[in-house]
């Protein structure tokens, strides 16, 4: 048989190919087989530098077979009707080149597999399909060759089939290879339905959401991206590259400076991360001499990705438009006109709720029954469970407006009311009977002033005024806690005052800003110092991240439009000026913050959340504005506000449970009624004290506002020194301001309730009294259900309890029944 030259040439090539495949197999066998390639200990020969070098070319080389063979397959598909199209020679070349490239890649891949710490399962897969690619490639080539030589048209379909197969296997190989390099979930993690979805909660920077979007970023996205970048720069780079320290002549804290670059020229080339010096430096290995940060740790991968993306997108720096980056709440008060509502809705709050319900296509549920209402409103207003007699009387009361009348009565129980709200304010104003600072005279208590102010229902504007421009009795709040020795500049007492006043009264976080310019708001370091200067005898030296800057600023109110402070005046004068400014009716923020806090306390969630971030969006701006405006107009009367809220149908709607607390705080929250709350430590202690026996006695009371403990024979928990029981149930140590409590139970708490001495001995004492008082088991069961849960025992419950107690109850039995009832969620939840 005569063999043409061309044929011979092709045959030689085929031999080369087969030889190469042989080499691959040989390599396989030499290097410990490919079932467990990665677990084998590398031998010296495997680590020979040249093989390592070649091996690392694998990720580069693989793109050739991928590109060539896939393109060949595509062209083959396009010309599927005409094998002898004018593209034929090109396709042939692509196939041949692709197969050769795939063989090379496979060899390099085997070399690489000796080095990396690759997972063996995935690596094994990658190798197998890789080999399959090479084999199918060779067969493709062989068939193609046969067709070209023998012109056997019948082989075309086999050739094409195997080419498409080859392309498919190649894609799979590529996928496994990429998974080895980037991680298995590299792709899938971006899918919203993936468990590894990296998307995050509102308020966080989420790079992946940007990447899914089209090329053009919106202004808002640019701003968000820029803020994220600046936060990264600030926390990782400012130490050496900002106003205070300008290493390498480079500053990264200002737009002009960052684009000017450092002593070696520009560091950011917008649109080109690869060319940008800053990107090169932060991606270098930590021990490289050029690596940045040169001190401290390397940037997190996520941070590097953000910088990379930012440069790619042209390194937007949104100065000028900053005012629009962060939502800023309106400062001015606003009095929206009340909407029209059905006649039966007389309470203005209900008119707003009605409008809200209509807008959200919701209807009004029935308000709760009398018993539930009285229990709820008693706990909310005076922190106590209603007594059984009260419940009975209330239910029998036939007056149409009895709920409003009873609310008035509750609010008029001045000492009960004040004792309850004392805890709320103690938390917020970080006032306590004991705590750090007292022994060295570095802290002052304000309990007496506070109690009397709450009791007398001091108008809120005066209340705030007296805390900011204080008398001796009320100075404890702004004087802060002074620790002996040297403290961080952002924690000196003047700065504490600035932080606490802005947080508690204005729902504004100045804590970032007291160290450096804020990344989460438009507030600047200067603003924080200007505000803190109001509480200082002379201007404070500005410290940036605890480093003195040698700069000073005036004393200034955060919002200049509200008024000016005389910087040169004495501290007491400046404080008095601030007090007058802050309580101005035009300072809508003060009044919005307090009505939102009170609302949150009663309704379980603020109109704005978190309650300390008043720039967040309220679920009803109208309701918040209207309430704040009218509260201020109505002499800032807190009791009136409570009356307004609790007499509304809105408050008296059935309570709403929730499973996932994180959903409750989302900005897209929909109001449907009061959220169920767990009793606070004090409410629980007082409720148990009402029914069973006192947990605390007069002798433990740290502040005695009235000679006799009201109608109760025990000391209310808010008046005693903090102890392990109250701590376990969530009373905070009041070293810092605290404006909300955890309502989640935990093991330490459960232990305190299960075998804690204080709780169990209280139950023991109560059991003795009850045994004497109620004598029979039937009576004990009836009373405990009615007093603790406000209802009769259901037959099943009665049976269980009766089985425990028998006909005449023993002390042990009563104790265990008490314990079980007090720990029921039905008892502990305000519903």
């Amino acid at each position: 048989m005569k063999i043409s030259t061309k044929k011979l040439f092709l045959r030689k090539k085929a031999l080369v190919v087969i030889g190469m495949i042989g080499v691959i197999w040989l390599l396989q066998l030499t290097f410990s087989g490919f079932v467990q390639p990665a677990s084998a200990t590398p031998t010296a020969s495997n680590n020979f530098w040249l093989w390592q070098f070649f091996g690392r070319l694998h990720p580069l080389a693989v793109h050739f077979p991928l590109g060539l063979l896939l393109f060949a397959a595509i062209l083959e598909l396009i010309t599927i009707r005409n094998f002898s199209s004018h593209l034929r020679p090109g396709i042939n070349l692509l196939v041949i080149a692709g197969v050769i490239a795939s063989i090379f890649s496979a060899v390099l891949g085997l070399l690489l597999s000796r080095q990396g710490d690759y997972g063996k399962d995935l690596l094994g897969l990658h190798q197998w399909v890789g080999i399959a690619t090479v084999l199918s490639g060779v067969i493709t080539w062989f068939l193609l060759n046969r067709i070209l030589v023998t012109k056997k048209i019948s082989l075309i379909k086999y050739y094409r089939g195997i080419l498409f197969f080859c392309a498919a296997v190649l894609s799979v190989t590529g996928h496994f290879g990429a998974s080895l390099t980037h991680g298995k979930d590299y792709l899938s993690a971006t899918l919203p339905w993936s468990a590894d979805y990296t998307g995050t909660k509102a308020g966080d920077f989420n790079l992946s959401s940007f990447k899914n979007d089209t090329a053009q970023l919106t202004k808002k996205q640019e701003a968000e991206l820029n803020v994220a970048v600046r936060a990264i720069l600030a926390h990782n780079c400012y130490k050496c590259h900002s106003a205070e320290k300008i290493k390498g002549d480079l500053r990264l804290d200002r737009k002009d400076m960052i684009f000017k670059g450092g002593e070696n020229g520009p560091v950011v080339i917008p649109g080109n991360p690869g060319e940008s010096e800053i990107f090169r430096r932060i991606t270098l290995p930590a021990n490289h001499k050029d690596a940045m940060p040169s001190k401290g740790k390397k940037l997190a991968d996520a941070d590097i990705a953000v910088i990379n993306f930012w440069i790619q997108k042209g390194a937007p720096w949104t100065e000028g438009v900053e005012k629009n980056i962060f939502r800023v709440a309106e400062l001015q008060p606003r009095n929206p006109p009340l909407p029209l509502a059905p006649e039966n809705l007389t309470n203005p709050l209900d008119k707003w709720t009605n409008q809200y319900f209509i807008k959200n296509k919701m209807s009004w549920p029935q308000v709760v029954d009398d018993r539930t209402f009285l229990r709820r409103v008693s706990l909310d207003l005076i922190g106590m469970l209603p007594k059984q007699e009260e419940v009975d009387t209330f239910i029998k009361d036939n007056r149409a407006d009895k709920r409003a009348l009873w609310i008035k009565q509750l609010l008029n129980r001045q000492d009960d009311y004040a004792t309850h709200w004392l805890s709320f304010w103690n938390d917020a104003l970080r006032n306590d009977y004991t705590g750090t600072g007292y022994i060295t005279g570095g802290r002052y208590e304000i309990t007496d002033w506070l109690y009397k102010s709450i009791r007398s229902n001091k108008p809120y504007n005066e209340f705030v005024k007296e805390l900011i421009s204080p008398t001796k009795a009320s100075k404890g709040f702004i004087e802060g806690i002074k620790w002996r020795g040297v403290v961080n500049a952002s924690q000196r007492t003047e700065m504490q005052a600035a932080q606490n006043i802005s947080q508690v009264f204005l729902g504004l976080n100045l804590k970032c800003t007291s160290c450096h310019n804020s990344f989460i708001s438009d507030w600047k370091l200067n603003d924080a110092y200007a505000f803190a200067n109001i509480f200082a005898d002379s201007s404070l030296e500005i410290n940036r991240c605890d480093k003195p800057t040698g700069k000073y600023t005036n004393a200034r109110m955060l919002w200049k439009e509200l008024g000016t402070i005389d910087s040169s005046a004495k501290k007491s004068i400046k404080r008095a000026q601030l007090a007058d400014i802050i309580i101005k009716p035009s300072n809508g923020r003060l009044y919005r913050t307090i009505v939102n806090r009170i609302w949150a306390q009663i309704m379980g969630r603020g109109i704005v959340e978190p309650v300390d971030v008043m720039d967040n969006e309220p679920w009803s701006q109208d309701l918040l504005d209207w309430m704040a405006f009218n509260f201020q107009q109505n002499k800032s009367d807190i009791k009136e506000l409570l009356y307004l809220i609790t007499t509304s149908n809105t408050y008296q709607l059935p309570s709403v449970g929730f499973k996932d607390p994180n959903k409750i705080i989302l900005q897209d929250y929909k109001f449907t009624g009061m959220l169920r709350k767990r009793m606070s430590a004090e409410q629980f202690a007082d409720a148990a004290g009402t029914i069973i026996a006192p947990l605390f006695y007069d002798s433990m009371v740290m502040y005695k506002p009235f000679p006799k403990m009201g109608d109760y024979h025990f000391a209310r928990a808010s008046l005693v020194i903090n102890n392990s029981f109250l701590t376990a149930l969530g009373r905070p140590n009041r070293e810092t301001t605290s404006t909300g409590r955890e309502s989640q139970a935990n093991l330490l708490q459960a232990l305190e309730l299960t075998n804690g001495e204080r709780f169990n001995s209280m139950i023991g004492r109560g059991a003795i009294t009850w045994q004497k008082k109620y004598v029979t088991s039937d009576r004990v069961i009836k009373e405990i259900y009615s007093q603790a849960l406000g209802r009769d025992a259901q037959p099943k419950e009665y049976q269980i309890a009766k089985k425990l107690l028998g006909d005449t109850p023993a002390i042990d039995g009563i104790q265990d029944l008490f314990w079980s009832i007090l720990l029921l969620p039905e008892f502990q939840i305000i519903y």
Binding site: T198, T200, A300, Q496, V611, N746, L747, I829
Partner: protein, 474 residues
């Protein structure tokens, strides 16, 4: 080894959340997820901190200098150590007399002689203890968590019925209790990760058994009653509310703990007499015993303290020499025995034991050598009375720490202090940030672990900059 099957997946997605006050009573920890960049291999599962509360002088304990015996009319400035030196298991390494037993086990651990406490103006126990335990200098604008709380939060319990953070031996009734409470807290991490306090180890069992006077039978019945009433209470009305669920779960957990066999670990009466007697040098010694027993059953972080009480124990403002004789008796036997017992049972490999104090003491120098500090102890230049013979002033520039197990080098001495006054650190100074980061590293907690608190990152060590001292590891 006890497998830590309850261990949390501490490598979370860096989905950062913000803590702020939520009116709904949302638990802080729910809205938190830790952020860190990489996983590291751990060399320890458990940490035991042996806390020498009140300032332990290095020159009279683990770093003795020239000894000058007491004589009337002696020059105070001549005195560097008030005890003889005794040899240890390591060649050329000496301890102060009275610490011989610990000396004999130094082939099992590392002696650090270069601890440098922070400079905070006044040298105060309260602030330095706060700093040592939280890694942050007080005051802070958010409540900083104790190192035990960080560890409890990141890793959870080893054995789910043993609380992850146990604190043995400190009462809050002896003075400066508010300052102590300020750092015995999980801070912003939330109560769940706070310390389980056992003020008196000999009464430790009481904390983990049914209430006093209640038989186990009745305890079980009471729990059954609770469950029955719970399932019959107005369930429909309250659905599977989150507060209800969390209460039910916690109560169940407490019940399981209180009747679990592991609770016996808290009962020191079960310990054989021979061993009990060696540990029984007082509360601290028994605390070591309890720490050992709990470690064997699977504990995560245990702190055992000699107890801080102003002017008592290590807080020697007078009679330093005389009182140290007693203090050494308290610690020497139990600490040595603890290490040996852990080694024998095979737990030492994965248990990191650290002995440390907030700062050291010197006879003459208060704080740093070049600083005069207010309110320092009055020390006569010429000593007439033995009560003035001892290390009575607070010294921050040098100090000793011991570390055993958990991947730490054996028979190693790290750092050095000068042999002449001021006996300050002259080689390899190590600060509290490094100590913390080293502990976290041993446990496999990444060094940049942090949470966003009110939108500000709060790291395990300030700004995440604490450096691991890898040289301390094998």
């Amino acid at each position: 080894m006890y497998t830590s099957w309850n261990r949390r997946d501490f490598l979370r997605k860096s989905s950062a959340a913000t803590i702020a006050a939520f009116a709904a009573g949302v638990p802080l920890t729910n809205s938190l997820s830790s952020c860190n960049s990489k996983k590291i291999n751990s060399s320890a599962d458990t940490v035991i901190l042996l806390w020498m509360a009140g300032g332990m002088s290095h020159t009279d304990t683990f770093d003795p200098k020239k000894f000058t015996p007491f004589s009337k009319g002696m020059m105070a400035n001549d005195v560097l150590s008030t005890f003889q030196s005794v040899p240890t298991a390591l060649d050329g390494v000496y301890f102060s007399e009275g610490l011989g037993s610990i000396g004999k086990i130094m082939d099992k651990g590392t002696l650090i002689r270069s601890y440098v406490a922070a400079d905070m103006g006044h040298i105060l126990h309260s602030r330095h203890q706060y700093h040592w335990h939280t890694c942050y200098k007080p005051p802070q604008s958010v409540s900083a968590p104790h190192i035990g709380s960080w560890i409890a939060k990141e890793l959870g319990a080893v054995n789910p019925v043993i609380p992850a953070f146990i604190d043995i031996g400190q009462r809050f009734t002896l003075g400066e209790e508010e300052e102590l409470k300020a750092f015995h807290t999980a801070g912003f991490l939330g109560n769940e990760f706070g310390p389980f306090m056992i003020p008196d180890p000999s009464a430790g069992l009481e904390s983990v058994k049914p209430p006093v006077g209640m038989s186990i039978n009745r305890f079980e019945k009471r729990n059954q009653l609770y469950n029955e009433l719970m399932s019959n209470s107005a369930t429909g009305e309250f659905g599977s509310d989150y507060q209800k669920e969390s209460l039910r779960r916690s109560m169940e957990q407490a019940y399981i703990l209180l009747k679990s066999p592991e609770a016996a670990a808290f009962d020191l009466n079960n310990e054989p007499k021979e061993s009990y007697d060696i540990y029984n040098t007082g509360k601290f010694g028994l605390g070591c015993l309890m720490a050992r027993r709990l470690t064997e059953k699977g504990a995560r972080f245990i702190s055992v303290t000699t107890e801080y009480e102003p002017f008592k124990n290590w807080d020697t403002h007078d009679n330093g020499h005389t009182r140290l004789v007693d203090m050494k008796k308290q610690i020497d036997g139990p600490v040595a025995r603890l290490i040996k017992d852990l080694e024998r049972s095979g737990h030492l490999d994965r248990t990191l034991v650290i002995l440390a104090s907030e700062f050291s003491r010197d006879m003459m120098v208060e704080g740093r050598p070049d600083l005069k500090v207010e309110e320092q102890v009055n020390q006569p230049d010429i000593i007439q009375d033995i009560k003035n013979y001892g290390m009575h002033r607070h010294f921050t520039d040098g100090g000793s720490i011991l570390m055993f197990g958990g991947g730490i080098k054996k028979g190693n001495v790290y750092g050095k202090t000068a042999d002449e006054r001021p006996c300050k650190t002259v080689e390899k100074p190590i600060m509290v940030e490094q100590v913390h980061q080293t502990i976290y590293h041993a446990l496999g907690i990444a060094e940049d672990t942090h949470y966003l608190v009110e939108k500000r990152p709060f790291y395990t060590t300030p700004d995440g900059l604490g450096k691991v001292e890898l040289e301390l590891f094998k």
